[in-house]
């Protein structure tokens, strides 16, 4: 296994390494606010799912440092190719909470017209690709988009996220193989949260970690303490700069832990030991970072309460708006299949609009 980069000790002290370049006080506090925001939204959304007000949810809980630290290390002109747990990166890039909640509810406020189940965010304006549920496919898109940027002579970098399960996919292999051969400006970021639904990392691969795989593909592999936001930021920032200099891709493995189940449909107590979960809760990325910022005097005792109440207020307002908004217009069932809606799709729309109106909406995931 390669050495694991850590800046912030579990006690919240900065160890041997110095703070990464570019991390001024303002950004240090912003990272914290964003991590707490992500946790607050997750808690609220999981509750809403339990109340039956949204259909599905997958939290980022325990992985806030890995998500926020990496997302903060790219520029707005860069492109992000997310997996399931990176909605926080979209918010970090300035996405509106109204649209975010609109998507989770699946109403007409969702720019994608409620076409996918919750947590499949995307925004063209924010260079944040609308994800699919298919594991690993986006790794190739991140690589291909980076390749296109290189061909066009842009200095754009792409950030492609994946979980540890996705590293077993054929598309992971293809993306790293091709990306390294053509030295594309892509950062492959693996959130190794130890579990792919119920399959532990030890049954995902016999490899000694993910980062070590990079050397066979011909690129640097960096292992980083994924619960240390400063180390994640530093590792990602350096990989982004390396890509922007034309030196090719990097594979980053953020070693972290999925505190909740895979999703709202999953009961993790069926397959994993609560002692393991408790031990990782002791390494909570937010607690650890809070201790550091407090020691530095960058935040006070009141900050958490203030973030919680402001996020709660904004989320509640956004949820209210989303729940009050009408469902997507019937015609959105048929638009965007092609650039111009075909005659046969128009005919199907006319049939539904004039005679049918659609069946009753009683579906619940999972069935």
């Amino acid at each position: 296994m390669v050495d694991v980069l850590q800046i912030l000790s579990p006690a919240g002290e900065v160890e041997a390494n110095e703070l990464p370049e570019g991390l001024g006080d303002e950004l240090l506090v912003k990272l914290y606010r964003q991590m707490v925001t992500v946790r607050t939204i997750d808690t609220r959304m999981l509750n809403l799912q339990r109340q039956g007000r949204i259909g599905f949810y997958g939290t980022c809980k325990g992985q806030e440092a890995a998500t926020v630290g990496s997302g903060a290390a790219v520029e707005m002109r860069d492109w992000v190719f997310p997996a399931l747990r990176e909605g926080g990166v979209l918010l970090l890039r300035g996405y509106s909470l109204e649209q975010y909640m609109g998507h989770l509810v699946g109403c007409s406020l969702d720019p994608a017209h409620g076409r996918q189940m919750p947590c499949h965010f995307g925004s063209g304006e924010h260079n944040f690709l609308t994800l699919s549920s298919v594991i690993g496919t986006q790794i190739l898109h991140a690589m291909g988009a980076a390749w296109a940027a290189k061909i066009k002579g842009d200095d754009t970098v792409t950030l492609g996220y994946m979980g540890d399960g996705a590293t077993s996919s054929t598309d992971f292999h293809a993306a790293l193989t091709i990306g390294a051969v053509h030295k594309v400006p892509c950062v492959f970021f693996c959130q190794n949260n130890q579990w792919a639904i119920s399959v532990p990392f030890s049954k995902q691969t016999a490899s000694d970690g993910i980062a070590v795989k990079a050397s066979a593909y011909g690129m640097p592999g960096i292992a980083v303490d994924g619960n240390d936001v400063l180390a994640v930021y530093k590792a990602t920032r350096e990989a982004v700069e390396r890509a922007r200099r034309g030196e090719g891709p990097t594979l980053i493995e953020a070693i972290t832990y999925r505190i909740e189940g895979h999703s709202s449909s999953d009961d993790a107590t069926r397959y994993r030991d609560s002692a393991e979960v408790e031990s990782w809760k002791q390494r909570d990325p937010i607690e650890r970072y809070r201790a550091y910022l407090k020691r530095r005097g960058l935040i006070g005792d009141e900050v958490d309460g203030e973030i919680h109440s402001s996020v709660k207020q904004r989320v509640d307002a956004a949820i209210k708006a989303a729940e009050a908004a009408p469902p997507p217009a019937l015609e959105t069932l048929f638009t965007d299949v092609y650039a111009v809606t075909t005659e046969s799709l128009k005919a199907q729309y006319r049939d539904v609009a004039t005679e049918d109106g659609g069946g009753t909406n009683e579906g619940a995931f999972p069935l």
Binding site: P111, G122, S132, V134, T137, L140, D171, A174
Partner: protein, 327 residues
Amino acid sequence: MAEITIVQAVNDALMEEMGRDEDVVVLGEDVGVNGGVFRCTADLFDTYGEDRVIDTPLSESGIIGAAIGMALYGLRPVPEIQFSDFIWPAFDQITSELAKMRYRSGGQFTCPMVIRTPYGGGIRGGHYHSQSPEVYFTHTSGLVVVVPSDAYDAKGLLKAAIRSPDPVLFLEPKRIYRAPKTEVPEDDDYIVPLGKAAVRREGTDFTITCYGAMVPVAVEACDKAADQHGWNGEVLDLRTLVPLDEDALLASVTKTGRLVTLQEAPKFTGYSSELSAIVAEKAIDVMEAPIRRVAGFDVPFPFTLEHVYMPHADRVLRAIEDVMTYE
């Protein structure tokens, strides 16, 4: 006018479109220095360089997934899958990602690109160099599926496909890649519009639907029907399978009242089954005989007995005789 092959037509279209639009790039296995195993990408590498004519590692999913990323970012990739029999590793990328990108993002992200791939039998290629995979893709909403049948269409349809805002699967009939030749206008930037069928032989007694390498078979069968029976058949070359030119199909059967469908893919749930269903739903009252489907058999594509598997003019003629003598 010059007489050229389909291979030359594909090459001309690529050469011209790459010259017209610098965002057009070609990628795939052996497409660069080697110019493609069928020579469809010959001379592109020397003309446009290694940044735009790219030899990729051997990974079909990698080729298509990379092309999707390129298209998202603003290029117009034209990936080649060397034989359509090898497209399956990319099936997930094509059906889960490429076809759904516009829809799932509400039009925020699109992937205009053309996947070129040779398909079909009659070249002594056995299981894995002969299959006709069109129906796996026509069943997936969001894809345009095109099958040219001669050099004029190959060039004009490929140029239209490259300019299309939608992802296109461009199936090239490799049995007729090099013969016969067709006249194609020189120095003429023509396109053939997507979604429009062509009547290859006008007739009033029966209709044969077909596409790709089955078009010349259909014409030959019609000629035999005329010679042997004096029947005058109409050959409808669909050219684009999705979107289907339904108006042309219904107009032809309304005129003739008899339909033989022809495809080389296996018969069961084939593309012709959809054509038959459309005619049954919308034009049954004008039909004077049951529809007959001529197709490949429901077996893996054979090697030694390929000539038995492949639909030929005499087999089509027997179906014509069935629909013409039905009482």
